[in-house]
Symmetry: C2
Subunit: 197 residues, 2 copies
């Protein structure tokens, strides 16, 4: 049968999130059948990205340069910083094309259960930015989970001490969402923050 090379490839593909052993086999076969059009380009893209990608020393974003394209963009407001847990959250906000400030990527959330303390996250760098860069406003965009909100409150307190204005994302009904399927907490928040139409 398929010797080591294919088995090894399948094992590596199966470690990707969203692919199990079965779909990894399908993906491997898909690639083998499209050697020139997909397999070789993917191998090259992975090698190039592994070589080129670095973490922005200012904000923690990943990019092919440091500082990243967002931190280096003079058109983006350097006094407005949005704090996110992960690069995936930064990408999600960028896709809205509606935020013209900069970011700070924590790299996780505080978690007593998992033993994650402030020193394990990118928090000292954020406090340094608040102190040195004259931030006008920090938007906390961590998850609306217990750990996410604990992290937001911890950071907010530190930033208040430094005299920085701290805000958070609005809660409410998702656009396109049906009330019937919403949890009580969200509905309560949406009612409380109701707006004139």
């Amino acid at each position: 049968m398929s010797e080591g090379a294919i088995e090894h490839l399948i094992q590596l593909l199966a470690r990707l999130p969203g692919l199990g052993p079965r779909s990894a086999r399908r993906a491997a076969l898909h690639l083998v059948k499209r050697r020139e059009s997909q397999m070789v380009p993917l191998a090259r893209a992975l090698a190039e990205a592994a070589e080129a990608i670095r973490t922005c020393s200012t904000c923690g974003n990943i990019d092919t340069r440091d500082p990243c394209a967002i931190c280096a963009d003079p058109r983006r407001d350097a006094t407005l910083v949005c704090v996110v847990e992960d690069v995936a959250d930064l990408w999600a906000l960028e896709r809205t094309a509606s935020f013209r400030g900069r970011y700070h990527v924590l790299g996780g959330v505080l978690s007593a259960l998992d033993g994650v303390g402030p020193e394990d996250l990118n928090i000292p760098a954020l406090l340094a930015r608040a102190r040195d860069d004259g931030l006008a406003e920090v938007i906390m965009a961590t998850s609306a989970t217990v750990d996410g909100q604990t992290t937001a409150h911890y950071i907010a307190e530190r930033l208040h001490d430094a005299g920085v204005k701290v805000t958070g994302l609005a809660h409410g009904v998702p656009v396109g969402g049906e009330l019937d399927y919403l949890d009580e907490g969200t509905l309560q928040a949406a009612l409380k923050d109701r707006r004139p139409v």
Copy 2:
């Protein structure tokens, strides 16, 4: 934001079966965070597989050598050949570890709708094997779909002409399957082929 390198990688990952744009982004980020342990090894495994993998000129299987390990294995019965549509089906049968013959991979099924004729599949090579290699039995293991069965019948007729015994996989109740969820055709076949207990 992430410049070309990451976007390009995400686009290529999104073309894999089982990964959409969203899971491709997750997979890319997963890899970037595990550069040395997963990203570089995957790049290398892809490049090596793309370089090493070839199609067996005897049976159509993929392997790092030609003839493939199955065709080259003298312990496997060379007079018993199982005909499958795709390499994935060959892998599925090999996982049962219960077949000691060899294979023939068609590379698809006959399909009037998609304009796939006998000359588009690996059928001439199978007829040549039947003629030249003294096959004792050919097991048709194409899908139990209309096109799969049409293909099986077409091949079976040609093999009968060459004096080769042709068999097909048994139909019946899947192991662990509940009768309530089975279609009538399968139940009918299972009744007809009932066995003494």
